[in-house]
Structure formats: C-alpha cells, structure tokens
C-alpha cells in the first residue's frame, strides 16, 4: 500500500510557544487517519501546514512522492472542510460546489453532472438553489463536504467538522463522512478533540499532546495498549487504582496480577484498569468498596464505587447482571484481567 501523504519532521513555533515538534505522519492511500487531542495540542496547526495555509519552521510535506512544502495552498489539490462558515454566503449550494470545478476550468456540462452526482451522494440533490443561511448546520457541512470532494482531491482535510453540530447530527454525519470516504477511496485526515468520534470511524488514530504525536495506531491498539498515561486517559475512561508492585506483579483487591509494562521495580503504583474490566458483586459482610451511584445506560450500567482508602472507581457492567446493586451497599470489586498496565506517580 503506497503512502499518499508523508509528513516529516514538522516544527512550528509561535513566539515562545512550540505548537508542533518533530511531527511525522504517513497516511496510506484511501486511509482515514484522525488526529486526536485536546485544544492546543497542535493538531490543527499540523493540518493547516499540510494544507499550505500556514508555513512550518522546519520539515517537509510530501504528496505521492513529490515534495510540496513550498507549493502554494491553491496548487495543492487538497479539499478542506472547516468547523463552520466554510460555505460562501453569497453563492447558492450548487454554485458553492461548482467553485472548485470552475477554478479547474471544467466545462459547464461536465461540471453540472458532477455537481448533481455529488449532491445526490450527500443527500441534498433538491437543495441546488438554496443559500447557506437557509440550511441547517448539518446540511451546511454536507455541502462543504460535497464541495471539497467534487474536485477529486488528493487528500481530504477535515478540521473539526462536527464540533459545532448537535449530538444527534454529529453521530449521523460522522457515519456519512466515513461512508463517502470509503466509496470514493479518498485519503482523509480528520482533526478532532472528540475521542469517540475519532475511534468510531478511523482506520488509524494519532493522539497528540503539546505539539507531539504520542501514539498512532488502530483504535483497538490505542484502547488496549496505550503507550503513555496521557493516551490511556484521553482515549476512553481509565481508572487509576492504587496498588503495590513487587517485581513483575502487582497486588490489587487482594489479587496478584502480572504487570504488562513492568520494569521490575517495587513500590506503590497506579494500576490502569478500564471500567469494563472491573466486576462488582454484592457481599455478605464487608467488601472492599461501597457503591456511590448506579447509572442505567441501556445495555450497560455504570457503577461508581469508593474504597475505604478514598479511591473512586468506575465500573461498567451489563445491566442484567447488575440490577440488584444499589447506592450505599457494600460490594466486592474484582479485576477480571490477567495482566494490567501500571503508571508510577
């Protein structure tokens, strides 16, 4: 699988703030890669440098083997969708979509055919003559997508396209983006701060923090094998449970479990356990925790408990197994894994 887009050693500094440091990325043809991180982590800066809208202090951007670092933004043939206000307000939907085609001097007949088919693809084929201010937020973003895709770009760049939309629209639209991207085979780079979004639709996700790419991998690997505490906390929910490590094992809730990332040291550590790996059972007599709240989430229920030492632990269990658990009850917590990750401090 050839690499469509390669980014090497990008660096960008604004005054004293280093926005991007040693940023490397390879995106394969047809892949959807997400750049995930909190605001200020550099993900948007990286995207804008790739688009050519900003300059980097160092590093290069290579498209299909050709170095485009010094190519002007309007010559890069990359489609881009922004968080909001992407559409030109004085043009209709059809005219907006036609814009890129007109820049490429595509003839009227061919243009109209392409516009019709792309608007059909995003489900807005009856909205040709509408103006942006007559559309809802979700519709506007779909037009923006159509406009970016109709020019058959080398790479599709999405800068938090769903952040300004309602929850329900967000979920629907992200599926549509994935569907479009797959059917057209467009290489896509998707920037977001919403980890659920990124994990749901991406081939690979790159987690960023403070200008650096902490880990880039398929969603499963990020979730189950986070490379750092930051990734562990940012992706999904993670419990930090105090435990005592001895050699390659750690003792937690009276059980000895092997440590995955063991360096063989001894001492107190934080054990990283996902909520679904914690089992909560009622005890007769005193257990090792007390239930604070139980939230019914449909198929699963979230149970929040507190140990006598004061640690607050989140557990996620199937609802049909936890129906008899109530706030204030004594319970026994158990980790259902054979090996765990720990962090020091």
């Amino acid at each position: 699988m050839s690499n469509s887009l390669q980014v090497k050693g990008l660096r960008r500094q604004f005054g004293n703030v280093v926005a991007l440091e040693e940023f490397n990325l390879d995106v394969a043809k047809g892949e959807l890669v997400a750049l995930l991180g909190p605001s200020g982590c550099g993900k948007t800066t990286a995207l804008r440098i790739i688009a050519g809208l900003e300059k980097s202090d160092a590093g290069s951007v290579i498209l299909n083997g050709k170095d485009i670092s010094s190519t002007a933004a309007h010559m890069r043939n990359m489609g881009m969708v922004f968080q909001a206000y992407s559409l030109f307000p004085h043009l209709t939907v059809a005219e907006n979509v036609a814009f890129g085609l007109k820049m490429r001097k595509i003839g009227r007949e061919s243009r109209d055919a392409k516009i019709d088919s792309i608007l059909e693809l995003v489900g807005l084929h009856t909205h040709h003559k509408r103006f942006p201010h007559q559309l809802s937020g979700g519709q506007q973003q779909r037009v923006a997508l159509a406009r970016a895709l109709v020019i058959e770009p080398e790479v599709l760049l999405l800068d938090e396209p769903l952040s300004a939309l309602d929850a329900q629209v967000r979920t629907n639209l992200r599926e549509e983006i994935r569907r479009l991207q797959l059917s057209l085979g467009t290489t896509t780079l998707f920037v977001t701060h919403d980890q659920e979004e990124a994990m749901a639709i991406s081939d690979r996700v790159g987690v960023m923090s403070n200008g650096r790419l902490e880990q880039i991998d398929i969603p499963d690997a990020l979730y189950n094998n986070p490379a750092s505490t930051f990734v562990a906390n940012f992706v999904g929910t993670m419990n930090h449970i105090p435990g005592m490590q001895q050699g390659d094992n750690v003792t937690i809730f009276g059980k000895n479990i092997r440590v995955k990332n063991s360096k063989g040291s001894n001492g107190s550590v934080s054990v990283l356990v996902r909520p679904e790996s914690i089992e909560v059972t009622r005890t007769s007599g005193s257990g090792n925790a007390k239930i604070i709240t139980r939230s019914f989430l449909g198929a699963s229920s979230q149970i929040i408990c507190q140990t006598p030492e004061g640690a607050v632990i989140q557990a996620l269990m199937p609802s049909h197994e936890s129906g008899d658990l109530h706030p204030g009850e004594d319970v026994t917590l158990n980790v259902t894994l054979n090996e765990v990750l720990v962090s020091h401090g």
């Binding site: 688009a51 809208l53 309007h74 881009m80 030109f88 814009f99 490429r104 942006p132 201010h133 970016a148």
Partner: protein
C-alpha cells in the same frame, strides 16, 4: 414563547384590546405609545406640514407651481450642484476610506484600532466653522501648505486653485466623509471570515481570484450602501457649506437657509417648502436603497 401573550407572566405593559384604538392597531402595547407620539409630533407632523405647503399657492390652493419653479434656475442649478457634490464627495470619501479600513484590518494591532475609532468618531462629526477655519489655516491663500509650496516655487493659487470653490468644498468635505466611510465599512470587512479565504485557496483560487469571486461580491452591497450614505451626507450638509462658500456656489441647503432667513419675494412664500420637499425626494432615492441593503446584508453579517 411571547410573554406578552402568556397570562401567567406579568408584563410591564398591558395589551389594549379592540375598541380602544380605531385604525391600524387593534391590540396596541401601551409602552410603545411614548415613542409613537414623540415621532408623530416631532417628525411626522413637520414633514407632512412641509409637504402640504410645498404644493400650496399663496392663496392656499393646491398647485404645482412651486415644484415647477425648482426646475428653473437658480434652483435647478442648486440641485445640480448639490447632487454632483454628493456624488463626487461620496466617491472621494468611499475609495480612500475603503483603502484605509482595509489597511487597518491588515495591521490588526488593537491599540491602533482603538486610536482610529476614536479619531474617526471625532473627525466624522467635525464640520462647520471649525473645519472651515482649519482648512483656511492650511490651504487658504495665506495658509501653511500654500506658503510652504510657494517657497519651493509652486504657486497653487496662481495655478487656479481656490479653497472657496467647488473643488475646495470637495476637499474639505473629504475630511469628514473619509472617517464616516472607515466607520461604516469596517464591520463589513471584519465580517469577511477567514474560513472563506482558506476555503477558496484549498479549492484552487489564487489571492486575486478570491477577491474577484468571493471578497468583492460579498463586500459590494455594503460598499454601495456606504456610498449612498456618503452621498446623503454631502448632499444635505449645511454648516460646512455655509462656512465655506461666500455665495458663489448655489447649493440647495444654502438656498433654503436664505429663504428661511426672510429673503423671499411675495410670490415665493412656499418655495422654501418646495425646496425642502425636493431635498427629501432626492434623499429618499439614496437612503431607501441604503436601508434595504443594510437589512439584507445583516443576515450573513450577524451570524
């Protein structure tokens, strides 16, 4: 939900039901009465009165004769002058004003913007005698600029320049027209979203193509609106015109002024009102499109 129709919520005003007002409003909110009455007495009534008198003869009969007199000299000349003054001064104010507003936006420094907005406010309201004397001090026959140029051999007055001419008026008017333009066009400029420029670039448009296809079309309505506002401002200006002219240029506001001061012959009693009515008609042609454009563009400017 409109609280005034919700019976559970106290509203400061009461809905006055049918029967209390005859005419247009069957349910009319009492709190709005003050402003209505105010505008009725101090705005609508004067305008109606003067319109009525514009069409009255000395005996009180309806006549067009006052209006037809407007199409004869010296009144025809006055309208011609005032309208040209409006059109030219608006252009002289609009283009530099736009350039300056763009330059300010590009520079972006906050202190600069605060500074500009405060002096623009003051300069836009400068007029009349203070402004005239300021220009006299600089560009009058003994003015600083004139004497400075004379000392390097350029005699502007000898070449035909005169501050108290139509050209001089345009120059002086520019002093408050340009700040007005800067003030009024800046909101339109700031409403140009960065995303539009970036989108255009990513779709293949060069800087020039962006301005041609996106920037200018979006700004055009606002620019036209501002031009119309400047036209009305120059057309209606009184204080500065009075200070700058010595009776050598016929302008409508000045003619009205002299008629009001009592320089009227017996059969021209209602001529002043006809002139005023004419002014209103010309002003309508500029201000109604201005208001229409402003209300339309606020749709995408206030998002």
């Amino acid at each position: 939900m409109n609280p005034s129709t919700n019976s559970n919520v106290d509203v400061k005003g009461a809905l006055v039901k049918k029967g209390a007002f005859h005419g247009f409003f069957t349910s009319f909110p009492l709190p709005l009465a003050p402003i209505f009455i105010f505008l009725l007495f101090f705005f609508l009534w004067p305008i109606t009165a003067l319109t009525g008198n514009a069409f009255k003869s000395n005996e009180g009969a309806f006549t067009f004769s006052n209006i037809t007199m407007l199409f004869q000299d010296p009144y025809r000349m006055a309208f011609k002058n005032s309208i040209s003054l409006g059109l030219i001064s608006a252009l002289v104010g609009a283009i530099p004003g736009l350039a300056i507003a763009i330059a300010i936006e590009k520079q972006g420094s906050r202190t600069l913007k605060k500074f500009i907005s405060s002096i623009s406010g003051v300069l836009a309201n400068t007029g009349g005698v203070p402004l005239a004397f300021m220009f006299l001090a600089a560009f009058g026959p003994a003015g600083l600029v004139i004497t400075a140029l004379k000392s390097v051999g350029i005699d502007l007055y000898g070449l035909g320049f005169n501050l108290f001419s139509f050209t001089g008026l345009i120059i002086v008017y520019a002093y408050f027209q340009i700040p007005i333009m800067v003030i009024v066009i800046t909101p339109a400029l700031t409403s140009l979203r960065k995303e539009w420029k970036d989108s255009a670039a990513s779709l293949g448009a060069s800087r020039f193509q962006y301005w041609l296809k996106v920037g200018i079309p979006i700004l055009m309505p606002s620019f036209i609106a501002c031009y119309l506002l400047l036209f009305a401002s120059a057309f209606s200006a009184f204080a500065t015109a009075r200070a700058m002219t010595v009776g050598n240029i016929a302008l409508v506001p000045l003619q009205i002024g002299s008629l009001v001061d009592g320089n009227v012959t017996i059969n021209q009693a209602n001529l002043g009102y006809a002139l005023a009515f004419g002014m209103i008609v010309v002003s309508l042609f500029a201000m109604i499109p201005y208001i229409w454009i402003q209300s339309r563009t606020s749709k995408w400017q206030n998002r």
